[in-house]
């Protein structure tokens, strides 16, 4: 397995050298960063891009005629084109900068949901959603008298497509579904789900927060009506995210926030909204973060999403094999198609204690409910310990994880 560490095009040492934080030490141990599903680390060129923007390019955008404003606007819009290309959106008008995945879902909830969903209507989500793709819809249901329907999940973490088809009745006005589960790693075959919804004329929002950094995403091939993701999970900064939406919907939707930049003209009698995408970008956006996200996407494309997906799959397979050999460990989420997320529980050691003990060895994992409490309830566990891998992780780091889990058992006196 380790022989695969270096493919023809992928030089792990060079890749790791791109990320200054990866050479950090935690106490006297080298950092082993396995919390990538929460947030990925940032390569030097993205850090440099932010510094360059703030030193040589910064001003407000879409406003003034002076040099800096023109430069900042051009760079901001260039970043939009990079995103458009990255997800193969038909038009840059369909690429909205948000503050992140949560913001994107809330935008669709307000802009689409509050306009088109009413009493007696239904919204379909899945049992493996992040809270960000549950709570906004619940808020809408409460406000509008609509009902939330949930696609069930099996013990492996796979959704039931048959049950989903059964839910797609005439009252359903929206399907909101994850592409990759953050708690279990399940890759949902969203294309099938979208096709089935479209057969009944139902629009589909896909939560791509965990998918966009790890597998190639083509919104036209998927056919989704909305696709949302976050910059900081794909080597960009926090505070920036993307909503892709089909223009036919975006044109009809209400703006989420009112303010500057989203208007064509304002008088006290009537305000006319700006065209897409600006209609949904009220106020001064995180300009530097958007430009840095564009740089991060260039970096990821330089490595290649196919290469990233293959590398992470190898890491996951190696980690699954290593962790499975530890007595008393149960892996939560064993779907046939998985992204590089390894959620686990260990007999006799609470996930939080596991997280603290692993931290002693410099191993950073996430412990808790992963903002997916219904998933924890489904598996009757309070929390899991989750290791999540990125392309810059190594097989040696997986070994460090396994060794640290074994040491935790020794400390706790667990067989």
């Amino acid at each position: 397995m380790k022989a695969l560490d270096m493919s023809d095009t992928f030089d792990i040492d060079r890749v790791r050298a791109d990320f200054p934080i990866l050479s950090m030490r935690i106490g006297d141990r080298p950092l082993v960063y396995l919390d990538n599903a929460a947030s990925a680390q940032m390569p030097q060129r993205v850090i440099d891009r932010m510094v360059h923007y703030q030193t040589r390019e910064h001003s407000n955008i879409h406003r003034a005629v002076h040099y800096l404003s023109e430069t900042a606007t051009a760079q901001y819009e260039a970043a939009r084109l990079k995103v458009q290309s990255f997800i193969n959106a038909p038009s840059e008008r369909e690429v909205i900068f948000t503050s992140g995945t949560t913001d994107g879902i809330n935008l669709v909830m307000h802009g689409y949901g509050r306009k088109f969903i009413g009493t007696g209507d239904e919204i379909v989500v899945s049992a493996i959603e992040h809270h960000a793709n549950i709570v906004p819809w619940q808020m809408l249901c409460e406000e509008r008298g609509a009902t939330l329907k949930v696609i069930p999940v099996n013990d492996a973490g796979e959704l039931s497509f048959e049950a989903y088809l059964g839910l797609l009745g005439p009252k359903v006005k929206m399907v909101a579904i994850t592409h990759v589960s953050n708690a279990l790693g399940t890759v949902v075959p969203v294309r099938d789900y979208i096709e089935a919804a479209h057969a009944s004329g139902i629009p589909v929002l896909v939560d791509g927060a965990q998918a966009a950094p790890h597998i190639p995403v083509d919104v036209q091939a998927l056919g989704c009506d909305f696709y949302v993701f976050s910059g900081h999970k794909m080597c960009g900064p926090t505070g920036i995210g993307i909503l892709y939406g089909k223009s036919e919907w975006l044109e009809k939707m209400q703006p989420f926030k009112g303010g500057g930049d989203m208007i064509a003209s304002v008088s006290f009698e009537k305000t006319t909204y700006n065209t897409l995408p600006f209609k949904f970008e009220a106020g001064t956006p995180p300009i530097m973060a958007a430009i840095a996200l564009g740089e991060a996407l260039d970096y990821l494309r330089g490595i290649g999403l196919e290469t990233i997906a293959r590398r992470e799959h190898e890491l996951l397979a190696y980690a699954t094999e290593g962790v499975s050999k530890i007595r008393g460990i149960r892996i939560i989420g064993t779907a046939e198609r998985k992204a590089a997320v390894l959620s686990m529980v260990m007999d006799g050691i609470h996930p939080h204690d596991l997280g603290t003990l692993l931290n002693e060895d410099g191993v950073a994992i996430r412990t808790g409910h992963h903002c997916a409490q219904p998933v924890m309830t489904r598996y009757r566990i309070p929390a899991t310990a989750r290791a999540s891998f990125a392309f810059y992780n190594t097989f040696d780091e997986v070994d460090a994880l396994v060794a640290s889990l074994e040491r935790a058992k020794t400390v706790f006196g667990v067989d």
Partner: protein, 154 residues
């Protein structure tokens, strides 16, 4: 040596494995539940406080991490037989120790063996685990049936 090496001492591991005063007190007249929504820690505390305002009996049940369970177990041992006023003082002292405001070696306190939890002050994300049982004790003694670590300044 890192912070958690100091925290996971044998006494804590032992109380985690074999919690003392486990179960509900049969003739309890005070009861409170404590939740830590962040990690799912959940404990139910029952007490019998007599006319003399003394903790005559105390028991706990629930699910939680080792820090939470050991803290609860050692707390029940420490407050059993004590006047309510002293138990309340220990609640304050334990919280102050866990948040680094009280140095158990220097400042006056009743904490005794509970000093093993002083290391938790270096692990901010685990402070709530240690404090939850004490929160719950405070709630029970003040007739608040349900308490949570959320919204707590600690």
């Amino acid at each position: 040596m890192s912070a958690s090496n100091q925290l996971y001492q044998e006494v804590i591991l032992d109380h985690n494995r074999k919690p003392r005063n486990w179960g509900a007190v049969a003739d309890a007249n005070l009861r409170a539940e404590g939740h830590n929504p962040l990690c799912g820690d959940h404990i139910v505390l029952t007490l019998s406080v007599g006319a003399g305002r003394t903790v005559d009996a105390v028991g706990f049940e629930g699910d939680g991490c080792a820090i939470c369970k050991a803290s609860a177990s050692m707390m029940t041992v420490a407050v059993k037989g004590r006047p309510v006023g002293e138990a309340e003082a220990m609640v304050r002292q334990f919280r102050d120790m866990a948040t680094g405001k009280l140095d158990p070696e220097r400042d006056d306190n009743l904490l005794g063996r509970l000093k093993v939890f002083s290391g938790v002050k270096d692990l901010p994300s685990r402070v709530k685990c240690a404090i939850l049982p004490w929160h719950t004790l405070h709630a029970a003694l003040n007739n608040d049936a349900v308490t949570s670590t959320e919204g707590d300044a600690a």
